[in-house]
Structures are given as C-alpha cells and as structure tokens.
C-alpha cells in the first residue's frame, strides 16, 4: 500500500474516478464540501474496494441515519435508513462519504469487514442502534447494548427519556433472565475451552479493574499467563449522547460534548461548534479562533499529562503521576480563571466563546510557560529513561503504519509508527495554518513510542500556546451573525426586536439551516468529529460522534495475542483512551 503523498488533485478528483468506474453513483453536495456519493446496496462492496484501491486506506467511520421523519432531503434519493461510510485518504488529503439507501422492509446490507477490518465494530454498533442487519458479519452480536435490550435506541420511535417509558420495574423472573444472559460463554466470544494439549483459563479483566481506565472489560483466554485471545467488551459507559443531541437545542447540547472525551474539555466543543457554524454560515474572527486554539492546546496538555502519569503508574512507577498532577493543577487554575470551569468548562459557543478573556489572563500563562520546560524535562527523564520501564514497553504492542490504517488508528498512535500526518497540518482548521509547530513521530510503533510521541506533543502544544499568547488578535469574542448563540449582551434588550431575538435564542435556541456537515479535528487522542444532520429545526436531526478511542480499542486483540497479562496492561496504558470517548 502506497502511503506516499501524491500531488493533490482537483477537489472532485476522487468523484471523477469513482464515477468513471460506477456511472450510476449519485452525487450530493454537503455544507462541509466533503465529496459525497450515493451507492446502491448491491454495489457497496465494489465501491469500497475501488475506493480502497484509489488510495483510501482508512475507514474513518460507519454510521446510519433514520431518515423516516426527515423533511428537507432535496436532491437525495429515497431512503428510510441511510448507511454512511466515511473514508480518509492521506495521499489525496481528502475524506470521502459514501451513502447507501435502505428500506425498513429489507433492512440489510453486506458487511464490509473483509475490506476494512475495523468495520466490524462500526457495523455492530449500527446493528444495535438501528437494527440494520450486516450480512456476512463475522461476529453478529450486540456490541453496545445488552443482548436483552428491546428496540434500537437511535431509531426515531425509540423513547429518549424515562418519562416516555413505563415506570421501571425489575421482577425476579426478569432479573434471573438478565443474569442468565450475562453468563459467560466462550464460544459466543469466539474462543475455545480446550487447545491441543491444554485447557485454557478465561480471565475476566474488568469492567472493574484498576488498569482499564473506566468501565471496560476484556475477556482473556489464557494459557498460563500468556494471552491466546483477548476480546474487548464495551458499552458499559454508554449514555446515549447521540440520542440526546436529537432532544437538546443546538446551544444546550454543548455541555454534553465536554463529557465525551472527559479529559478533552473544550476540545470536544470545537468540532461541534465548527460543524454547526459551517451549517449556519457563521464566520468567526481571528481572535475567536486563537482563543479556541489556545484553550484546546491547554486541554491537549492536560490530557497528555494524565496519560503520561497513568502510563507510568500502570507499569508500576508510582511517583510521576503525583508530580505531573501538580502541574496539571496549575494549568487547571489557569483554565478556571479564563473559563470558570475546570475539566468541563463548556465554554465555546456557536459563533464564538462564552466570554472575552479576563484582564491579566496572560500572567499565569507566562508563568506556566516559564516553569514547564524544566519540569517537563524532569518528567521525561524520570519516565522515559527508566530502564525497567523501557524493558516493559519497548517492543511490546507493536503495529506498523499499515496495521494502524486497518484498524482506523489516528492521532499519537498513528504517528508513533513513523507516519507523519496531523490533521492540524494536513487540513488546517480554526487558524492552525498560522501556527508554527512540528508533528512529532517515532519509529517502532510500540508502547514506548506511543508515550514518547505524546511527550513531544506536549512540547509542541507549549509552543502553540506561546504563539497564541504573543499574537492574540484584537476583536470581538462572538461573531456578528444572527445565529450566534447566545447573542452578544450589548446587542440584546435594546428594543422589542432584540429582546425577542435574545429570548428565542435562549429558550428554543437557534434554528440551524438544513444540511449535513462534519469537521474532523485532531483531538487529544486522535481524529474526532461531529457529523451533524440538520433538518432546519432547533435541534439536530442526527448527530454522529466519531471518536478516536472507539477505533483504538478495537485494535487490542490483534496486538496482544501471544503477550503476557502484564504486557496487556502496558498496551492498554499506552493506547490513551477514556471509556466515555469509546461509548459516548
């Protein structure tokens, strides 16, 4: 597979090539200008194979839309359930969206997990949430929802609130049934009890275990302490964030985004804001962009700090996390002085940020930038130069760039394989094009390198924050646009018109023009995006949150077979995920 960067072609280049192979594909134009085509159910496998050959090595996302009550679908083929495939090409530096129309009467489509292995979980999630059957799927079991769940949560007819359901009760016979459904059956997980000369032991690692960073379960098939197979089980942290988006006003959904990657804080607000702004046609000024970048990079540092601390802790090094937390606390105080919040400030707004920077906002940041180099060097030598830690992590959990593509790995995990790609450089957003920073890479793609890359990324984030500090543009902290929410205070309550405008935006929220938009960003852990479908209402019609952690967990079995239990802990520690980001 060629990963060399080819000359970028004209924008619809991929579409011309695809259409020449499949003339009956139907184009659709989206607000995000992402090349989008409609394929038919029967040709989807061929289209995806073709796309893979046309230098689209990474399956970015598979999701679905329940289109049955959507009004504004001008120029789109008839469909009741639309399956959406999203691919990423590094060579072309472009995404590709392929949609397939399905109808409730025959809700099935061929599985593509033989073309893109990471389709496995995405398809299972779609099956759980919409009831779509993926024919030929290797493990067609529920992934996110319990096997006893009735209905498919993201269908429009499924209730979203407890008040829409019967009062909860759990009679004994139902409880027994539920418990019986949880009984562990290795065959269902694709594992066998007996080997050629040995009986295997099954170890249930999680959902409560000190090293799985949340409620994450891995069923291990062990031969002694050697892992024969590992099957991750997720869904324990599922809160229905995508369903909630269909009930919350555009503006009031903001706090929910903070809690997706709960270490990313406002970094989660950014892709959501940018997508909504693009749909609404809001252009934000340079000051807003720079403030957003600065806050995002602060949260990148926060997240990486926690990662590095727990990484050392999971291989048994007790102290670094305490030193790192001291600096983390310092940074939290800075964030608090600016936003008023700490981990989840929900501070970005549609068309700007919540408030202007307070006076004297730069003092503490300067102090932080001054003390960090020394501290960071200290941590780097304490963790990365430790010989026992090297023994534990060098050459453990190795994958190369091709394998990373196969499993949809992005972010630091991809760069640790030596692949120099960062969406902040490749498709700059929110003013990253004006920033001077490097993209750190490593060579081996093992646990050690994944941590080393993140250390270097902290250095780069410090550089970016320094540039924001030195070149903070003047201007307003909110865009001058009728859909900016909430409207600027000095433009409200001047007369009856502004009063009504303010009242409507605060209560119902703005009505965002119909359309589809997706703006991927380089979040703390990899590529993160909100694929937003608006039907012109005050809430989103469908919000799809593509998170990096989900993809990364799916890769665990392939890199942990043949390893020891202790290696698995090092692998988990080096992946950098949070369960809220996996389950959403």
């Amino acid at each position: 597979m060629s990963i060399a960067v080819e000359a970028t072609q004209e924008i619809p280049g991929i579409l011309i090539e695809l259409l020449s192979a499949f003339p009956d594909l139907q184009e659709q134009s989206c607000a995000d200008a992402m090349p989008t085509v409609w394929a038919t159910k029967s040709q989807i496998k061929n289209v995806l194979k073709k796309a893979k050959n046309l230098n689209y090595p990474l399956l970015y996302d598979i999701t679905a839309i329940d289109e049955r009550v959507r009004d504004k679908r001008v120029g789109q083929p008839e469909s009741e359930f639309t399956v959406v495939y999203q691919l990423l090409s590094f060579g072309r530096n472009e995404f590709l969206r392929i949609k397939v129309a399905l109808f409730d009467a025959s809700l099935s489509i061929a599985s593509v997990s033989d073309i893109y292995p990471n389709a496995n979980w995405y398809e299972r999630e779609c099956a759980d949430m919409f009831g779509i059957v993926f024919e030929g799927h290797p493990t067609p079991y529920p992934l996110m929802i319990p096997s006893t769940w009735k209905g498919h949560p993201l269908r429009k007819e499924h209730p979203a609130r407890a008040t829409e359901m019967e009062p909860f009760s759990l009679p004994d016979e139902i409880q027994d049934e539920e418990q019986e459904a949880l009984r562990f059956d290795p065959h269902k997980w694709g594992m066998t009890r007996h080997g050629d000369n040995t009986d295997f032991m099954f170890l249930n690692l999680g959902p409560n275990h000190p090293s799985v960073h949340g409620v994450f379960r891995i069923a291990l098939q062990l031969d002694g302490e050697e892992i024969v197979d590992a099957v991750p089980d997720i869904g324990y942290h599922h809160r229905g964030a995508e369903k909630m988006a269909e009930r919350q006003a555009w503006h009031s959904y903001m706090p929910y985004t903070d809690r997706i990657d709960y270490l990313g804080g406002v970094m989660n607000n950014l892709p959501y804001c940018m997508a909504v702004e693009k749909l609404a046609g809001i252009k934000v000024n340079d000051r807003i962009k720079t403030i957003r970048i600065m806050l995002c990079e602060m949260f990148r540092i926060q997240s990486h700090f926690l990662f590095l601390g727990t990484f050392a802790q999971d291989v048994g090094q007790m102290s670094p996390i305490f030193y790192i937390f001291k600096d983390r606390e310092f940074l939290f105080n800075i964030i608090e002085t600016i936003t008023g919040g700490r981990m989840h400030p929900s501070w970005f707004r549609i068309g700007g940020v919540a408030q202007d920077l307070p006076s004297g906002w730069d003092i503490k940041i300067r102090e932080f930038l001054k003390m960090m180099p020394k501290n960071l060097k200290h941590y780097q030598s304490m963790i990365m130069k430790n010989r026992i830690l090297k023994q534990r992590t060098v050459g453990v959990g190795v994958y190369n760039t091709e394998e990373a593509f196969e499993w949809g790995v992005t972010g630091g995990g991809l760069r640790a394989t030596g692949f120099n790609w960062d969406i902040r450089k490749a498709m700059p957003y929110s003013g990253y094009e004006n920033m001077d920073f490097e993209v750190p890479t490593a060579t081996n793609g093992d646990c050690y390198d994944r941590a080393a890359v993140r250390f270097e990324e902290v250095w780069q984030s410090l550089r970016i924050i320094e540039q924001c500090l030195k070149n903070m543009p003047a201007g307003s902290y909110k865009a001058d646009h009728p859909l900016t929410t909430p409207p600027r205070k000095d433009r409200t309550m001047m007369d009856i018109e502004t009063l009504i405008h303010h009242f409507v935006h605060e209560s119902w929220g703005p009505a965002i023009p119909a359309g589809e938009c997706c703006t991927p960003i380089e979040a703390t852990k990899g590529l993160n995006s909100y694929y937003i479908v608006s039907d012109g209402g005050t809430t989103s019609y469908r919000t799809r949150i593509r998170t990096p952690s989900f993809a990364h967990l799916q890769q665990i079995p392939s890199i942990s077979r043949g390893m020891m239990v202790a290696d698995l802990i090092a692998i988990i520690a080096s992946i950098d995920f949070v369960m809220a980001d996996v389950d959403r």
Binding site: M201, L203, N204, H209, P210, S211, E225, A312, Q313, D314, V315, G316, Q317, M318, S319, F322, Y323, K326, N386, I388, L389, Q391, R392, M564, V565, A566, D567, I569
Partner: protein
C-alpha cells in the same frame, strides 16, 4: 546462697518473658507504625501530604486503620476452602514474627541466641511462600491463582541466592550465630568486604517481602490484589502486617549481617548512647531506603524478574562466594 540462686533463676526467667513480650509488641507495633511512616514519607517525596489528619502528624492513622479492619465483617467467600483460607494469613504472620526471635537487637535484648540463628532465619522466611500459596489456592479466584503462581516461582528462586549471598558472611566469621557475627564486625562492618553479598541480600529481601519492584504476586495494576484479592478485615490485616514485619526483618537482618548490628561509635559522648539506639537507627534508615525504592521504581514483567534472578543474581552470588573463599583461604 540457695536463695540467691533461685531468685537469679527466677529473674532470668522473668526477664526472658519480658524480653519476648516486649520484642513481640515492639515488632508488631512498629510494623503497623511503618505503614504510617511509608505513607507519610511517600507523601512528602511525592509533593503531597499523606495521612496527616488523625492525631499529631497523623500518627494515629494506624490506630484508625486497625479499628476499621477489626470492625469489618470477617467474611470467608462461599467458594473458598475455609480451613486453608483462615490458616494462610496466620502462617504469613507467624513465620516472620518467629524469624524475629533470632535477631540480636542489642546485648541483653533478643529472644533466643541460637547457634544456627542464620539457618533458622532462612528456614522461617522460606516457609512464607506457603502462606501466599495457601491463600491463593484457597481463595479459588483466578487473580489470586495467578498471584500465587507468581509468588511461588518468585520466592523459591529468590531464596536460592538469598541463602548464597549470606554464605560469604558465614565464611568470614565461621559461625551461624548472629551475635557472634555482630561481634566479628567490631573491626569493620561486613558491608565493605561483602558488598556484593549485601546488595544481593537486599534485593532478595525486598523480593521476599513482595515490595515494589518485586510486588508481582499482588501487582495491583495487573492482578487487582493478587493472592489476597479475596481477603478482607483482619485476615487481610495479617497479610498486610506480615508484609511490613518482613520489611522490618529484612532491615534488621541487613543491620545485623552487614552494618554491625548494635555496634556504634566508641568515641566521645556517642559511646554513652545505648547500643539499641544504633540498631534502631540503622534499621530505620534501611526501611526508609526500601520505601524510597518503592516510590521510584516501576515493576518488571514476571519473566524478566525470573531471568534477572537466575541469570544475573545467582551467578553474581556464586562469584561472590568464590572470591570470598579464595580470600579466606589466602
């Protein structure tokens, strides 16, 4: 004459009882105290406070923890082998406390003065592995089982060169009697001629008390709590205190074998300080060193630990023995 003789016998007997009880209480008490010292010192070294709420400087934290452990439900899992499950922590506690019997704290302070003191110590510590294995096996828990397997392999292999590392000292002194070994150090402590032996013994001692970086049997991040996953209340407390007694034991034996036991400086006013002070000071510093190691090192993988034991420590112990033998012969 007769009267005096009888009373002398009686008073020696009484003295012995006082000695035994005092040492037992002191050892167990200071093991509990060490848990506080460890938490507090780790706190200080890690830029935080550690337990500082209960009593002055938080010293009474130990008491609070003890009360908590005592009041916990004394629970035995329904799937456990009940008898073995209860016996295991008792063994853990018993063997380390029994090993303390031969430690010569100072002239006149000590429980017994065995001619095979050193061998008795080695015998007792090697029994410790049974506690871990029984506990793990009786729990009928997979994490405990993995912890027990690791513990058995680790303790058996580290015992081999723990014994070997001490033979250098035995060669230099020609005795297994610990008091005589201390007296033999009046001209110079053995940590100089037996430096390699000391390092190996120290490492093996940490491994025997399963502390970081040798805490694989209970590696929290891998096996939740390893062999004592199913234990709670005072039965867990016995494993816990047993581990700290074993820390003290390692420190005490290091002091006796390599740092001149109770021997202290003989010049000036320092000569008037009671010998027991020097013993406690040396042992205390060694305990702090072990705490510092816990705060700074990560945990190697199980196979790396075994390789380190058999491929590095064992040959080193042999070479040390050989060199000592040559020196003694010359």
């Amino acid at each position: 004459m007769n009267d005096i003789g009888t009373s002398a016998v009686q008073s020696t007997w009484l003295l012995n009882v006082v000695n035994v009880v005092a040492i037992l209480v002191f050892v167990v008490g200071s093991a509990a105290f060490t848990t506080w010292v460890e938490r507090r010192m780790l706190g200080i070294w890690q830029d935080r406070y550690g337990p500082n709420r209960v009593g002055p400087f938080g010293v009474l934290q130990v008491l609070a923890d003890m009360i908590k452990l005592l009041w916990k439900e004394d629970w035995v899992p329904s799937f456990a082998d009940k008898f073995v499950f209860v016996v295991a922590p008792t063994i853990a506690m018993f063997v380390v406390v029994a090993a303390f019997a031969v430690v010569p704290v100072a002239p006149g302070i000590g429980v017994v003065d065995l001619n095979v003191g050193l061998l008795f110590f080695l015998a007792m510590t090697s029994l410790g592995v049974y506690a871990v294995m029984f506990g793990a096996y009786a729990s009928d828990n997979k994490y405990a089982l993995l912890g027990g397997l690791r513990a058995a392999a680790q303790m058996v292999s580290y015992e081999v060169f723990m014994g070997l590392s001490l033979m250098g000292v035995v060669m230099l002194t020609g005795t297994f009697n610990l008091r005589e070994i201390v007296h033999a150090q009046e001209d110079g402590w053995f940590f100089i001629p037996q430096f390699i032996g000391m390092v190996i013994f120290f490492i093996a001692g940490i491994a025997e008390s399963h502390r970081t970086p040798f805490d694989l049997p209970e590696a929290e991040h891998e096996l939740t709590a390893g062999f004592h996953t199913e234990y709670s209340g005072m039965k867990f407390g016995m494993f816990f205190i047993g581990e700290y007694v074993s820390v003290l034991l390692t420190a005490a034996m290091m002091t006796v074998l390599f740092f001149g036991g109770w021997l202290g400086p003989t010049w000036g006013f320092l000569a008037y300080i009671p010998p027991v002070f020097w013993f406690l000071l040396k042992a205390g510093i060694l305990v702090l060193l072990m705490i510092l190691i816990r705060g700074s090192l990560p945990r190697p993988r199980y196979d790396q630990l075994m390789a380190f034991g058999w491929k590095a420590m064992l040959p080193l112990a042999m070479v040390n023995l050989l060199i000592t033998a040559v020196v003694v012969l010359l």
